[in-house]
C-alpha cells in the first residue's frame, strides 16, 4: 500500500512538473524568427530593452536569406511551434493569412490603440494587409526596405570625368533622375580605367534561383508602365503585363545588362551586387536599402566616397518594395507575450531607436521627423524611395508566380532567348494558369 502511494505521488509530481514547465517558459522566453542579416543584429540589440522592461528573454532564430523562405515556410506549413514571432517576407502575407499561420491583429491593435495610420501607407499595404487595400491586418510594419541605388560619389566628382561627361552628354555627371541618364552614366564608366583599374557601369540583379532578377526587372518595368493586372478587373493581365510599354521596359533592362554590367554578372543578387560595389568594380549598384548602412561604414567605398539615390523615373516613378512586417504565429503557446512584444515594438521611442541602430522604421513620426533626413546620409534616399514603392503579387500562390517570372525574364535578359514581347506573353500565360488553378479566373 505504502509503495503504491509513493508511486502515485511520484507520478502526480512528474505530471505537475511536466505540465508546469511549458507555463514557466511561456512567461520567460519568446523566440523571434527572421533572416540572418545586419538589421537582425540591430534587433537583437534593440530587444534588450524589451527584456529589461518585461523580464522576458528574447531568443532569436536567424536563417540565411538563401534558406529563409524554405526554412520558415516549412515551419509555418507544419504548424511548428519554433517561432512565437516571425518577421516574414512581404509576399507571405496572403498565404499566411489564408492558411491561418498568422494571428489577425485588428482586435489587438484596437485594444492597444495602435493605429495603422501612424505608419507609412505603402508599408501597411505591403507588409500588413490581406486582402490588399482592406483593413485586415496580419502584421505590424517592421523593417522598411526598398530597391534603390548607391554610386561612387568620389568618381562622379573627379573634375576630368565631369568635364568629359558634360562634353559628351550635355549635362552634369550626377546621380541620375531618369533611366536614360542612368544608362548614359553606366555606358560612360563601362570598361573605363580609374586609378589603374578597369571598372564597369552598374551592377543589377540577375539572379535565377530565387527572386533576384524579378526584384530587379520590376523596378524598370513599373517605370515604363507595366501593371500586374487591370485596375478595374483583378487578374485580367492581357495588355497590362505585356503592354507595349512593359515590353520596352524589359528591353531596356536587357540593354542595361548587355552594355554596362561587369563580366560574369549572370547570377547577381544582394550579396554579389554589394560585393561588386565594395570591391570597386562598379560606378553604380542596384540594391535593397538595408545594405546602405553597411556600405556607408565600409572603409574602402563608404563615407565620402558613396552616394545614394532612389530608383530613377521614366514614364512613371516606382521602386520595388522589399522589407517585412512582424507577425504573431498562431501556433505559438505564448501568444499573449508575443503580442506584448509587438505592443512594445510599436512605440515611437522604440521605433526611433530602431532607426538609430540600423533598422529601417516604418513609423511616420520617425521618418517624418524634421531632422530625419539629416540623421543618416542615406535617410533622404530611403524616404524618397519608400514614397514610390510597389510590391510583387502577395497572393497565396506568389511562389509559383515568382518562379514563372524568374524563368521568363532570365530566359530573355540573360540567356538572350526570344524577344521581350514573347517573354511577357509567356508570363501572362503562366500567371493565368496559376490563377486558374487557384480558381480566381
Amino acid at each position: 500500500m505504502q509503495k503504491t502511494s509513493k508511486a502515485l505521488l511520484g507520478l502526480a509530481a512528474a505530471f505537475v512538473m511536466s505540465s508546469a514547465l511549458p507555463n514557466l517558459a511561456k512567461a520567460d522566453e519568446l523566440t523571434l524568427c527572421w533572416a540572418a542579416w545586419d538589421p537582425a543584429n540591430a534587433l537583437v540589440e534593440l530587444s534588450k530593452d524589451f527584456t529589461a522592461k518585461t523580464g522576458t528573454q528574447m531568443k532569436f532564430e536567424f536563417v540565411p536569406w538563401t534558406s529563409y523562405a524554405d526554412r520558415f515556410l516549412n515551419e509555418l506549413n507544419s504548424h511548428g511551434k519554433l517561432c512565437d514571432l516571425i518577421i516574414g517576407d512581404s509576399q507571405w502575407i496572403g498565404g499566411s493569412a489564408e492558411n491561418g499561420h498568422y494571428v489577425k491583429l485588428n482586435d489587438f491593435f484596437d485594444k492597444e490603440g495602435i493605429k495603422m495610420d501612424d505608419f507609412v501607407p505603402a508599408t501597411v499595404v505591403g507588409y500588413s494587409e490581406w486582402p490588399k487595400n482592406t483593413p485586415n491586418y496580419w502584421a505590424l510594419p517592421a523593417m522598411g526596405d526598398v530597391v534603390g541605388w548607391t554610386y561612387r560619389k568620389d568618381w562622379f566628382e573627379k573634375p576630368e570625368l565631369q568635364k568629359e561627361f558634360k562634353a559628351k552628354y550635355g549635362h552634369d555627371l550626377a546621380a541620375p533622375k531618369t533611366y536614360d541618364e542612368l544608362k548614359q552614366i553606366a555606358e560612360f564608366f563601362q570598361k573605363r580605367e580609374i586609378d589603374g583599374k578597369t571598372v564597369y557601369g552598374a551592377s543589377i540583379y540577375t539572379e535565377r534561383g530565387s527572386e533576384g532578377i524579378t526584384m530587379g526587372v520590376t523596378n524598370v518595368l513599373y517605370d515604363w508602365g507595366f501593371q500586374y493586372d487591370n485596375p478595374k478587373k483583378p487578374y485580367e493581365m492581357e495588355g497590362f503585363v505585356n503592354s507595349a510599354d512593359a515590353v520596352k521596359g524589359l528591353e531596356f533592362y536587357k540593354s542595361l545588362y548587355d552594355c554596362c554590367t561587369p563580366p560574369g554578372s549572370s547570377n547577381v543578387y544582394m550579396v554579389e551586387s554589394a560585393d561588386a560595389f565594395k570591391s570597386g568594380q562598379v560606378a553604380m549598384q542596384m540594391n535593397f536599402a538595408f545594405t546602405w548602412p553597411g556600405l556607408y561604414k565600409d572603409e574602402k567605398v563608404g563615407g565620402d566616397k558613396i552616394g545614394f539615390f532612389p530608383n530613377p523615373a521614366e514614364k512613371a516613378h516606382f521602386a520595388q518594395l522589399g522589407g517585412q512586417g512582424i507577425s504573431v504565429v498562431s501556433y505559438s503557446d505564448k501568444r499573449d507575450a508575443a503580442l506584448q512584444y509587438i505592443k512594445w515594438f510599436a512605440q515611437p521611442e522604440v521605433q526611433a531607436k530602431w532607426w538609430e541602430l540600423g533598422g529601417f522604421s516604418c513609423l511616420n513620426s520617425v521618418v517624418n521627423a524634421p531632422d530625419f533626413t539629416k540623421s543618416q546620409p542615406y535617410a533622404q534616399a530611403f524616404l524618397d524611395s519608400m514614397a514610390i514603392v510597389k510590391d510583387f503579387w502577395a497572393e497565396p500562390s506568389y511562389a509559383s508566380l515568382l518562379q514563372a517570372m524568374q524563368k521568363r525574364v532570365h530566359n530573355y535578359v540573360v540567356a538572350g532567348n526570344g524577344t521581350a514581347k514573347e517573354a511577357l506573353d509567356g508570363l501572362v500565360k503562366d500567371w493565368s494558369d496559376v490563377f486558374k488553378d487557384d480558381g480566381k479566373i
Binding site: A69, R208, P262, P263, S266, K407, H410, V414
Partner: protein
C-alpha cells in the same frame, strides 16, 4: 596462449544468457529458430517500411490528389490521372528531362573514358603510383557544396583561374570567357565540374576490376605472343567490363538526381538551360507547393530510373555470365 574465435563467441553467448531475465528467457526458449530470426530482422524491416516503402506508397496516393502541403486545411480531392496527364504534357518538364539526359550522357561518357584510362595507368604500378592515386581521389572526397563554390570562383571571368587559362591558350579576353552566363557554355561548365569530381570514383571501381584479372591470363597471352593491343581488347576490357558497367550504373543513377552542383553553379540558368529534373521537382514540391503534381512527377522519374536501371542490370548480369 591463444584464445580461439569459437570460445569467445561461446563466452559472449553465456554472458548474454546470464544477463537475460528469467521471464524473457522462458519466452525465448519456446520460440523456433525461424521465429527468433524474424524477431531480429523485424526492427530493420519495420524501419525500412517506415522510411522507404510507406513514403513511396503515400507519394503514389498523393499523386492522384490535388493536395497542397501549404494548405493542410483545404479539402483533398481525387483528380484521377490529372496530375500525370499534366506532368507528361508539360513542355517545361520535358525540357528538364532532356537537359538531365544530356548531363547524364556526357558525364557518364567522360567519366568512364577518363576514369578507366586513369585506372589503367595507375594499375601499371609505376614509381609513386600510390601518391598519385591519393591526389586523384581528393575531388571526390570534398563536399559538393565546397566543390560548387570553389568552381564558381574558378569560372569567374575577372579573377577565375579557368578564364585566365583559357585566355592564355586561346587569346580570347578573360572577360569573354563566361562559362556560367553563356547559354552554350553553362551546361558544359557543370559537366566539367561533375567529371572533375566523380571521375576518381569511376577510376576506383575500374581499378578494382583491373586488379581482379589474374596475372596468369596475361602470361598465357604472352606465351601465345599476343600483342599488348590484343591483350588490352581481348583480356583487359572484357574482364573489366562488369566493373565498368557497375560504375556507369552508379553514376547514372546519381547524375539523374543531380541537384546541388547545378543549384550552386547556375541556379538552373541562364534561362532554363541547366534546369535539370530534380530542380524542377524541388520547385514544384517545395516552392509552389503543388504537392500532388510534384508527387506525380516524382513517380514518373522513379519509374523511369527504376525501369532503365532494371534493363541495365539484366544486361550487366549477361556480361558477367559470359
Amino acid at each position: 596462449m591463444t584464445i580461439s574465435h569459437s570460445s569467445i563467441v561461446e563466452k559472449a553467448a553465456d554472458a548474454t544468457a546470464r544477463a537475460t531475465p528469467a521471464s524473457l528467457a522462458r519466452h525465448v526458449r519456446g520460440l523456433s529458430d525461424r521465429a527468433i530470426a524474424w524477431l531480429f530482422i523485424a526492427p530493420a524491416i519495420t524501419l525500412l517500411l517506415a522510411i522507404n516503402i510507406f513514403p513511396l506508397i503515400w507519394a503514389v496516393y498523393l499523386s492522384f490528389t490535388n493536395y497542397r502541403a501549404n494548405r493542410p486545411n483545404a479539402p483533398v480531392q481525387g483528380v484521377g490521372f490529372g496530375n500525370y496527364e499534366r506532368v507528361l504534357n508539360d513542355p517545361d518538364i520535358w525540357q528538364a528531362m532532356q537537359t538531365t539526359a544530356h548531363f547524364v550522357f556526357w558525364t557518364i561518357l567522360l567519366q568512364t573514358v577518363i576514369g578507366f584510362a586513369l585506372a589503367y595507368l595507375i594499375d601499371r604500378k609505376f614509381r609513386g603510383h600510390a601518391f598519385w592515386t591519393t591526389i586523384i581521389l581528393i575531388p571526390m572526397m570534398l563536399s559538393p557544396a565546397v566543390v560548387g563554390n570553389f568552381w564558381r570562383f574558378l569560372y569567374e571571368p575577372q579573377i577565375g583561374l579557368f578564364a585566365y587559362a583559357v585566355s592564355l591558350v586561346s587569346g580570347i579576353p578573360t572577360s569573354d570567357v563566361q562559362m556560367l552566363g553563356n547559354v552554350s557554355l553553362a551546361p558544359w561548365a557543370i559537366i566539367i565540374v561533375d567529371t572533375w569530381m566523380w571521375t576518381p570514383y569511376v577510376m576506383l571501381i575500374c581499378l578494382a576490376g583491373l586488379r581482379s584479372i589474374p596475372d596468369y591470363i596475361y602470361e598465357a597471352a604472352e606465351v601465345d605472343r599476343a600483342s599488348p593491343w590484343r591483350q588490352f581488347w581481348s583480356i583487359t576490357v572484357p574482364m573489366a567490363l562488369p566493373f565498368i558497367m557497375l560504375a556507369v550504373l552508379f553514376r547514372g543513377i546519381e547524375n539523374f538526381k543531380m541537384f546541388d552542383m547545378v543549384t550552386l553553379l547556375t541556379g538552373g540558368g541562364p534561362g532554363s538551360v541547366t534546369e535539370v529534373a530534380s530542380i524542377t521537382l524541388k520547385r514544384a514540391a517545395f516552392e509552389s507547393w503543388a504537392t500532388g503534381r510534384a508527387s506525380a512527377f516524382a513517380i514518373v522519374l522513379f519509374v523511369a530510373v527504376f525501369g532503365l536501371a532494371n534493363i541495365y542490370v539484366k544486361a550487366l548480369n549477361k556480361v558477367k555470365q559470359r
